[in-house]
């Protein structure tokens, strides 16, 4: 399997290099990516993604507040659906912002502009996790959790405490990991990297003619591409060279690109993603939209893989934990809760070609039903079911359960 994949990669890269060689002979200009994500116009940076940095910071505060059992539903709802000037966050600059996390949840052009029904259902799902955390889990903060009973479980060795609902699910984890799909992945892959947004209105003509957005140093097309970039690297320490600290800069997509990069089966993926972003942005400057779209396809494929690999990884970790002779339920359910969110996020993945995810919303719902469908959810799920879900996910991608699971 490994060898077959490798051969495939070698063949593809061979073909790619041969392809680029032959295009050398044509008169088309080659697009060169700069060493870092630095693009300028008139000696001024033309890169801007402040809105993404803001939403990542808001999401961090929301996720953290979900573990504060003195919080109320009204407080959490207001943080999620922030309005400009409301005193929702610890960070005053977030309060002043007109951005909100909820408004961009399941809100991409490609997936949801003509699917308000699903968009509303998904937003409702996030709302319901908040409500249930406050109504069902907060009041049971000191109750020992058991099958059918919400409460707290402590990890082995006097480890971390995990607060779960009656089905063993940590709602804060469900919320955080599902947001990686519904906000970061959906916005980047299905909104900003899509041609509906990149080429909207007169974006192509303006980019061709160097017409910048009013009062800005960038063309609208450049800016849209940067906004996709911002959902991965908006909290990076060095936003022009983010792989130096990949995985350490947020609790969302950046973090898990870092985790997948750390698995030797997938090492190199962080560079592939970053290189595609750089080359795609350079292609916009060079007005080479074919090259731009080829890079978007690479990014869609790789980010989708990150989501799927982490889904399988956590399901496998949970399975291993449940199979231990002395079961550490806190640790097992923590893994499964993270896995739950990554499985939920699969519906926001995007195949490199066509306007479709690797797993449809219906397929994802089917997997969630298998995972949580027993009367008592995680307390009832079997290792065999976790294996079967893992295999279903891996079969849609080019990796194996064994590669992702360790």
């Amino acid at each position: 399997m490994k060898i077959k994949n490798l051969l495939k990669i070698v063949c593809i890269s061979g073909a790619f290099i041969l392809g680029s060689c032959s295009s050398d002979d044509d008169s088309t200009t080659e697009v060169a990516a700069p060493p870092t994500y630095v693009f300028e116009r008139n000696n001024e940076s033309s890169v801007s993604f402040g809105g993404q940095t803001t939403r990542i910071a808001m999401a961090e505060e929301i996720v953290s507040k979900l573990k504060d059992n003195t919080s109320t539903e009204a407080i959490l709802d207001a943080m999620f659906a922030h309005v400009e000037g409301a005193n929702d966050f610890l960070d005053a600059s977030l309060n002043a912002s007109d951005k909100s996390v909820r408004s961009k949840t399941a809100a991409s052009r490609d997936y949801f502009s003509d699917n308000a029904t699903d968009a509303a259902a998904i937003k409702d799902k996030f709302d319901s996790w908040i409500k249930s955390q406050v109504d069902d889990v907060f009041p049971s903060w000191t109750t020992d959790a058991s099958a059918g009973v919400a409460g707290v479980l402590q990890e082995a060795g006097g480890g971390s405490k995990r607060y779960v609902n009656a089905k063993g699910l940590e709602l804060n984890q469900a919320f955080a990991k599902s947001l990686i799909g519904a906000l970061m992945t959906d916005q980047a892959l299905n909104n900003y990297l899509g041609t509906l947004v990149l080429d909207e209105a007169s974006n192509v003509a303006n980019n061709d003619n160097g017409v910048v957005a009013e009062g800005k140093p960038y063309t609208t097309m450049e800016h849209k591409w940067d906004e996709a970039y911002g959902y991965l690297y908006g909290a990076s320490q060095d936003k022009t060279d983010p792989n130096k600290t990949i995985g350490q800069d947020d609790s969302f997509l950046n973090k898990y690109i870092g985790r997948v990069e750390g698995d030797s089966d997938f090492a190199g993926i962080a560079k592939e993603i970053f290189d595609a972003f750089k080359l795609g942005r350079a292609a916009i400057v060079a007005k080479r939209y074919d090259v731009r779209d080829a890079q978007a396809a690479i990014i869609r494929e790789k980010i989708s893989q990150v989501i799927a690999i982490r889904a399988v990884y956590y399901l496998q970790q949970g399975k291993n934990a449940l199979e231990a002779s002395t079961v550490d339920y806190a640790s097992a359910f923590h893994d499964l809760s993270e896995g739950f969110g990554f499985v939920y996020s699969l519906q926001f993945t995007r195949k490199p070609q066509g306007n479709v995810p690797y797993l449809t919303r219906t397929e994802v719902q089917g997997l969630i039903d298998q995972l949580m469908g027993g009367t008592n959810g995680f307390w009832d799920v079997t290792p065999a079911t976790l294996q079967s879900i893992s295999e279903t996910i891996a079969s849609k991608f080019s990796f194996t359960v064994a590669q992702a699971g360790s």
Binding site: L6, I17, A156, A330
Partner: protein, 373 residues
């Protein structure tokens, strides 16, 4: 053209590399002629079983001293009980790394010696009188650490401690908890020792291959895991604030007793080095071991025998630790840099053991750092 030829060569190189690593993982075949069975026999008969027998004797003595204290509750019997606890706690250091077989199945180390314990939950248990010690979530409410609190932490004086078991409104609850703790530890110890003396010795020795689930691969991983997490990190690194940025003086082993944390550390360090050298329990005789295996493989690093480098590093760490206060809690408060220097010396052996030794023996690391979220 040259470019594509190069690519093909690179591709071939990769394929060759991949297939050979796949082979060694899948077949788990013997990679050298070293007599792993002789090594496993030495470990089982001369190290593990005698260590558990000695520990079991000390746990029995602890049980007796507990009964005596509960029957005749006074300061003199508290001192006797405390000394029995110290003896058993020290003895525990010679078995704690053997988290294999029944000990692994029971998760012995986490039920015997989690620290720091959570005092509020211990007190809640004593008040309610209902608790399930078999639950993983109760691991920080039992074991040697919970005894530390009950025998040393209830009051600043022995008279004050004894009052919890005599005049306290819930004296019966304190006595019951004390007794339940010791019985639980005794029961777990019996299960593990009996398994070794029953069928497990044979299972352990006959599983002498070199797959990831073979006895030597597993136990060598257990050894390194214990060295890294339970010696280097738990006893030194965490109190010294290596992972948190500032010292945490309440996280030392035997915090309430205070002045035995160094003795416990030393005992554990000696056990790990003795295990490496195949030294028989309670004797100076040595047998087949990780050291003799490395020497058999003639593993050299920087022109020196790797086994010598490892032993030298164990000795350097011990020498560095010898200047520490008997009480690590007071050490991190008064001069933490001596603790971090000890940590640094311990860390150097992680590289020798986990990278160089495992690579020489073709053993794969089977544990990863926790996710941390």
């Amino acid at each position: 053209m040259k470019k594509s030829l190069f690519l093909v060569l690179v591709a071939l190189f990769f394929i060759a590399g991949c297939s050979s690593s796949d082979d060694s993982n899948d077949t788990g075949g013997i990679t050298d002629n070293f007599d792993r069975k002789a090594l496993l026999t030495n470990i089982a008969d001369n190290i593990v079983i005698p260590s558990y027998e000695s520990f079991s004797t000390d746990i029995s003595a602890l049980k007796t001293a507990t009964s005596t204290f509960i029957t005749t509750t006074d300061a003199a019997n508290l001192v006797v009980l405390r000394n029995a606890w110290i003896k058993a706690y020290t003895s525990w250091q010679s078995v704690s790394m053997f988290e294999i077989g029944k000990a692994e199945e029971l998760s012995l180390r986490n039920f015997m010696n989690v620290y720091p314990v959570t005092v509020a939950e211990i007190e809640t248990n004593i008040t309610s009188g209902t608790y399930d010690f078999t639950s993983v979530t109760k691991q920080d409410e039992q074991g040697f650490g919970a005894l530390d609190y009950l025998l040393n932490g209830l009051s600043g004086t022995d008279t004050g401690i004894v009052e919890f078991y005599t005049t306290n409104a819930n004296a019966a609850g304190y006595k019951k908890y004390l007794s339940d703790l010791v019985n639980r530890m005794s029961d777990l110890t019996d299960q593990v020792l009996n398994d070794w003396k029953g069928s497990y010795r044979g299972t352990f020795i006959s599983n002498s291959g070199s797959s990831a689930t073979s006895s030597l691969d597993k136990l060598t991983n257990d050894f390194i895991f214990h060295y890294e997490k339970h010696l280097r990190a738990a006893k030194i690194g965490i109190p010294a604030g290596v992972f948190s940025g500032s010292p945490l003086d309440t996280t030392v082993e035997a915090f309430y007793k205070g002045d035995i944390s160094k003795a416990l550390f030393d005992a554990n360090l000696n056990t790990l080095q003795d295990f490496f050298n195949g030294k028989h329990f309670g004797s100076t005789t040595t047998g087949e071991s990780l050291k003799t295996y490395l020497d058999f493989l003639n593993t050299i690093k920087n022109g020196e025998d790797l086994s010598t480098l490892i032993n030298n590093q164990f000795n350097t760490a011990r020498t560095k630790a010898s200047s520490l206060d008997d009480n690590f809690s007071s050490q991190v408060r008064t001069n933490n840099s001596l603790m971090t220097q000890t940590y640094d010396e311990l860390q150097k052996n992680v590289v020798f053991l986990k990278v160089d030794m495992l690579s020489a023996m073709s053993i794969r690391v089977d544990f990863v750092d926790a996710d941390g979220d």
